[in-house]
Symmetry: C2
Subunit: 117 residues, 2 copies
C-alpha cells in the first residue's frame, strides 16, 4: 500500500482512524459520514488514494464500477434501494469539498430536495 | 443502435429531439439541463440506454470512466474546473429522478450548498 500520510480517508482505510464501516469490497470501503445529512449518509471511497473526480481517467474504469456496485449494496443494506437515493461527488471549493480523497456520498431515507445544494 | 423507443434521452442521442450539446465522446453525450439549477448545469448521458446508477455493474467500467472524463471536460469548457463543481446521480423517487436513462448532473458556477438537497 502507498504511504498513508496525512489523508484522513487513507488513515481510515488503513485502520488508523475509526469509522463505522457498513460495506467493503477489494478496492472500496463504505463508512458513515460523521455529519449525516439524511437518515442514510454513507461515504464510499477507493482504498487507494485518488484526489477527486477531476483526477479520474480510463485507468480508473474498474474502480468506478466497483464504487457504483458498493454504493448500490449500501443502498440495499440501508433499505433505501427502492425508495431511491442520491450519489454526490464534490470537486473543489464551490462544491464544498473538504477531504482531498475521492468520496462518493450516498444519501437516502428521506425526500431529497432540488436543487442539490 | 438499440431501438430508441420513448426514452427522451435516447431520442436526444439519436437526434430526434433537440438539445444544446456541449460535449460528446464515443459513448457519451453532454447537453444543458432544460431547468438549470446553477450557471453551469449539464447532463452527461451514456449514448446506450442504461436505466440508472443502480443498474451499473462491472460491464459498465469503461463507460463510467468515459462519463467521468466527459464531465471533467465539461467543467473545463465551462470554466468551473478550478472553482469546483458537483456531480449528482439520482436514483428513484426519493431523489426526484424523472428520466429513466442514466444522467450525471454537472453543476457549477456558484457556491453549492450543503446538504445536497
Amino acid at each position: 500500500m502507498a504511504e498513508v500520510g496525512d489523508c484522513i480517508f487513507c488513515r481510515i482505510v488503513a485502520g488508523e482512524l475509526p469509522a463505522e464501516v457498513v460495506a467493503r469490497s477489494p478496492h472500496t470501503l463504505a463508512f458513515r459520514d460523521l455529519d449525516p445529512q439524511a437518515p442514510t449518509h454513507v461515504l464510499v471511497v477507493p482504498t487507494e488514494h485518488v484526489a477527486d473526480a477531476a483526477a479520474l481517467g480510463p485507468e480508473h474504469a474498474a474502480l468506478l464500477a466497483e464504487l457504483a456496485v458498493t454504493a448500490r449494496e449500501v443502498a440495499e443494506a440501508e433499505g433505501v434501494r427502492d425508495r431511491g437515493y442520491r450519489l454526490v461527488l464534490n470537486v473543489g471549493d464551490d462544491a464544498g469539498n473538504t477531504v482531498p480523497h475521492l468520496h462518493l456520498h450516498v444519501l437516502g431515507g428521506r425526500r431529497l430536495e432540488w436543487p442539490p445544494g
